[in-house]
């Protein structure tokens, strides 16, 4: 996919973006900057399956915020304030996402000039205050009782009802994007896979696609098949894992332990393909690392067996009346809200957003071959669970189809020693959480000067906070699990 870079005036950008988003099938991919002296906006067109990049030069470290008119820009603008010190003027809730109080006030990791315009004490964080009779505040985290990643949840409740929820992230910020721009691009893939390791295959694939996009490299057909195979197996494993979590959260132990065992079986399939249960080191720019040819018949049998074993478990899970009672109408996200926040992945499709990157953008065998898209309209916990179930079964059939049609030939092509100078590469992959974007810029010597990652969770975190409103406090964990968002993918 070729990306055109269109220069656009920063002031005109706002109107242009509003009218872009008003057209059906047009989406906002990512708003970021390269070195703090410009804003780049990635626009996706899912009717033509193209991407456009707008570049607006900035003369100072402030610009007027898009957020009052384009809700989904709010989180990206906050992150840009963190990383580049670019202040969005009139942003309704400007706070730091990633750099908390202990960081130096002048630090702007991706802007060589450092923080210029921010006032003293700008790192101080203030939760939204809810006042009134009977308001009860529950702070939860950042360290949780289960083995999960850190995030702070601040509930303001009226009795057992959640009135407002504020989510604070950034506790596992490791400076991944900055490190990626510093290191040799041939080694980036190892860091990329480790950045959000439950999506290792998706991250590695997006990275490979982005670099191949820059180098204008065609990947052998067999490698494309194996890459899609990896991505679908990862999806199967994670969807089973999320369903396990849903069952455990409502105390349905029989189902959660059965599904937990079947997740192990799907990780075994990953092991058969790549020699690693989490696809570490399998996908690389140019193709894949190893050819699992002699193990593919075993894999096909494993996929069939898994599908057969899953069906009765899922059936007795979702047919249970009390399960329905817990999940239906819990954590509802309306279609309008899903559109405004640009929801992606399972959460988006549960609220009638017909968007699956596998149907639009090239990566692996997609979009030539693709599974059916699952779609639901109610946007509650049950719809999100159902989407996972349908995708899971679809993916297993798709794995079977990929194995049937596995072409012969080489599994990789050699990559050039240097990348073209001043080029842009884009990789869009539908991971198990949704649309993952890797955007890579090279400098005058063909080295990577900026590596931007948009994890699917970035679109969805705020929607979780809003979905929790007017629900029972004791239903929040269920709601949270139904979104199943990544902390490390967001914090990077």
């Amino acid at each position: 996919m070729n990306i055109d870079i269109t220069p656009i005036d920063c002031e005109l950008r706002q109107d242009a973006l509003v009218s872009w988003l008003n057209q059906p099938g047009k989406r906002l991919g990512l708003i970021t900057s390269i070195d703090g002296s410009q804003i780049v906006t990635l626009l996706l067109d899912t009717t033509e399956n193209t991407a456009t990049l707008w570049e607006s030069q900035l003369s100072e470290h402030r610009y007027s915020s898009l957020t009052p008119r384009i809700t989904q820009a709010h989180w990206m603008e906050r992150t840009m304030w963190d990383m580049f010190g670019l202040e969005p003027v009139n942003h309704p809730r400007l706070k730091h996402n990633l750099l908390h109080e202990p960081y130096d006030e002048k630090l702007c990791p991706l802007n060589p000039e450092g923080q210029v315009s921010a006032p003293d004490g700008h790192r101080q964080y203030h939760s939204l205050e809810v006042k009134g009779d009977g308001i009860y505040e529950i702070p939860v985290g950042p360290i949780h009782a289960g083995i999960i990643e850190p995030g702070h949840f601040h509930f303001s409740c009226l009795g057992e009802i959640i009135f407002n929820l504020e989510i604070r992230l950034g506790y596992v910020h490791r400076g991944v994007e900055k490190r990626l721009a510093e290191m040799n691009w041939q080694k980036q893939r190892f860091l990329v896979e480790a950045a959000a390791s439950d999506s290792a295959a998706a991250y590695a694939l997006a990275h490979a696609v982005a670099l191949e996009n820059i180098a204008d490299l065609a990947v052998p057909e067999k490698a494309q098949h194996l890459r899609s195979l990896a991505l679908e197996i990862e999806r199967v494993a994670m969807h089973i894992s999320d369903l396990t979590g849903l069952a455990a959260d409502i105390g349905f132990l029989a189902i959660s332990s059965s599904l937990g065992r079947l997740r192990g079986a799907s990780l075994g399939m990953a092991d058969l393909v790549s020699g690693n249960r989490f696809f570490r080191g399998f996908i690389c720019p140019g193709g894949v690392i190893q050819d699992p040819d002699h193990r593919l018949s075993k894999l096909q049998a494993a996929a069939k067996a898994l599908k057969k074993e899953l069906e009765p478990v899922i059936k007795s899970f979702l047919a249970n009346q009390v399960v329905l009672d817990r999940m239906e109408k819990t954590g509802k996200v309306s279609e309008r809200l899903a559109r405004d926040f640009g929801l992606v992945g399972v959460a988006g499709r549960a609220s009638n957003q017909a968007y699956d990157a596998r149907h639009h953008f090239a990566a692996g065998v997609y979009p030539l071959l693709k599974p059916q898209m699952a779609i639901e309209t109610n946007g509650d916990v049950f719809c999100r669970a159902k989407i996972r179930v349908v995708e899971l079964i679809e993916s297993l059939s798709f794995i079977d189809m990929l194995l049937e049609t596995m072409p012969a030939g080489p599994i990789s092509t050699s990559i050039p020693a240097t990348l073209p100078a001043n080029a842009v590469g884009l990789g869009i992959v539908e991971g198990h959480r949704g649309e993952l974007i890797h955007l890579v810029f090279t400098d005058g010597h063909g080295n990577c000067k900026r590596y931007a990652i948009k994890d699917p969770s970035i679109n969805n975190w705020t929607a979780l906070a809003i979905a929790a409103r007017n629900n029972l406090v004791s239903d929040f964990p269920l709601c949270n699990k139904s979104f199943s968002l990544s902390y490390s993918g967001h914090d990077l």
Binding site: A145, G146, E160, R326, P477
Partner: protein, 312 residues
């Protein structure tokens, strides 16, 4: 001499049965999930481990927090002595139905005070949940016992459980209804499924576990043991009711009765294990509905008892 044996058996039961019942529930759950599970005596090892650990106390606590677990423990011990949950109990003073129910309420009140004293956000909301549940479930337990009281014409549980009256079809029916009501309300009382999930790590969904979140070390061991003993008393009482529904039960010798007594207790524990593997935790709004079913069981038992009294 027999009374000495009774005391020995009773004290052994108080010390060992709570651990065994808890272990049985855990083992059943593990086996039903195809796991081997911890050894049957694991709860005992856990208590020993806790007793050797240091204790962390919040700076905002006053003495109520430590006092509460001691009061609860003492209160449950008294209940173990008074309540007829075992057939081989030593002599005890009159066990009035109303006194028993409010001794349970006393234990609840001190647990609530302790959790409020800890000053954590979880402690306060779980205390409010526990208070709500207590309010709802108290009439169910009380009415189940009152039904027995009406039928046997006494409010003293020693008389009710004395095995002196002749067993009839109606008495069996009342014993079963009362036993079911006591068993199901004990699930609420003890914060077990389907009302509360004792194995969850999710603080926001907890009731009992969130109340004792701030307890640690020996204090926690005391609370855990008191809770397990309370479980034994309530399950034991329910199994006693079920056993008395067997017409020939009063003709068995004391050893058979004691054996059935303990088997019934462990049987209920296994049933709880089964229940907790197969049921889904109810939504908080549906819990009153569940308690309403228990209350109707108690009401059926009471009305039957009153009706029979009127016919006599």
């Amino acid at each position: 001499m027999t009374s000495l044996y009774h005391w020995i058996f009773f004290l052994l039961s108080v010390a060992l049965l709570p651990v065994l019942v808890l272990g049985t529930i855990r083992k059943t759950k593990a086996r039903l999930q195809n796991r081997i599970g911890p050894p049957l005596w694991q709860p005992f090892y856990d208590l020993v481990k806790l007793a050797h650990k240091g204790e962390t106390l919040s700076l905002t606590m006053c003495g109520v927090f430590r006092l509460s677990s001691i009061v609860v423990f003492a209160d449950i011990l008294v209940l173990a002595w008074l309540t007829p949950w075992l057939c081989f109990k030593p002599w005890a003073p009159e066990a009035n139905i109303f006194m028993l129910v409010y001794l349970f309420a006393l234990a609840r009140m001190f647990t609530l005070l302790g959790s409020l004293d800890s000053g954590s956000a979880f402690g306060a909301f779980s205390a409010s949940r526990e208070a709500t549940l207590g309010l709802l479930v108290e009439p169910a337990v009380l009415l189940a016992l009152v039904a027995l009281g009406i039928f046997f014409g006494s409010s003293d549980l020693r008389v009710i459980f004395s095995l002196s009256s002749v067993s009839t079809f109606v008495s069996s029916a009342i014993w079963i209804a009362a036993g079911l009501a006591i068993f199901f309300s004990s699930l609420v009382e003890l914060s077990r499924m389907p009302v509360d999930d004792p194995t969850t790590h999710l603080e926001l969904t907890m009731i009992h576990e969130a109340m004792i979140l701030e307890a640690s070390g020996r204090n926690l061991a005391l609370i855990e043991f008191a809770h397990a003993l309370k479980m034994c008393i309530l399950f034991g009482l329910a199994s006693q009711c079920f056993l008395r529904a067997i017409p020939q039960f009063s003709t068995f010798n004391i050893y058979a009765q004691a054996g059935l007594n303990i088997a019934g207790l462990l049987g209920l524990a296994m049933f709880v294990g089964l229940l907790e593997s197969l049921t889904v935790k109810l939504q908080w709004r549906k819990v009153p509905e569940f308690i309403a079913y228990i209350l109707s069981l108690s009401l059926i038992a009471s009305f039957t008892a009153i009706g029979i009294g009127a016919i006599k």
